[in-house]
Symmetry: C5
Subunit: 78 residues, 5 copies
């Protein structure tokens, strides 16, 4: 996984029906921007743990996603 920082959200009215209801956040990690499904209720500015690839679909196999926020770093960690 990688550590990233949430920078905002993304709105896409036209999308794969399987993505309906997913919260899609913009996350910056190592200078690159990713769009990730938020599984933990992350907010802008928070440092998060990003999982990539099929790891992002553990527990939600029908979602065409390759990145998910799976944790929020405790503040003392930041």
């Amino acid at each position: 996984m990688k550590i990233g920082t949430v920078t905002g959200s993304v709105w896409a009215t036209k999308k794969s029906p399987a993505l309906t209801g997913q919260i899609l956040l913009r996350v910056t990690s190592d200078g690159a921007e990713y769009i990730a499904c938020d599984l933990v209720g992350a907010g802008v500015g928070e440092q998060v743990i990003l999982a990539f690839g099929s790891a992002a679909r553990v527990g939600q196999e029908k979602i065409p996603a390759d990145a998910a926020i799976v944790g929020i770093l405790d503040e003392a960690e930041e």
Copy 2:
């Protein structure tokens, strides 16, 4: 996922039979060009959400594709 911009389409008469009927678009993201299956009806110039890897085959497991356009950013987002 990554945000990319559709720059055109690709024609390949000789291809894996499993790709027949797929719309293949050229998408630029972070300075690199990808060929992605279009699942949402994207057009040239639009900003899209690209899913990579096995995520591109969710719902179409028999397609030998590793990239798919799974959403179009709303214009206010661009």
Copy 3:
């Protein structure tokens, strides 16, 4: 997927038995060289569509390959 150019073939007498009979081609894409299984009869100099990861094993799950040529660009495309 990525667009690449076939630059030659590869011969490996000692290999995983599961690769026996596979045509392995050298393909250059974005400045890097890959070895890919040829599923479509590509020739040296042709521009091809490369699929990476488990996409390369769609329809041939027992092959330990992570890259496959899944299409040849029409000449007008090159």
Copy 4:
């Protein structure tokens, strides 16, 4: 796999329930930092073998992780 060096641990009170009980370590490899599940009891400063992608979930398929420490280099190797 890649060789990396453990540099610390990560605490995330808010996380995917499936990550509960996992030890998450910071590992540096080739100049990049990863967060990996520790499967072997690695400590800070040790050189470890990192497996990425679905390899990190072999034997623990329900964990949304894409990196795991699967071995510790013998000291003579370091």
Copy 5:
């Protein structure tokens, strides 16, 4: 797949039990070093074909590995 050169082996007494008996070799490809399971009896200095990701686990699904040597280039190829 990628072409790489075997540069040595790796010893890890503490490792995932599933890796027991695997021969782990150091392989350099495109300037980066990888640790790969050797499936074909490769030796130091030989040029090999490296498969990454789940391709490395074809035929050995229970091994937490993401890279495997699946062929040795014939000398005339080197």
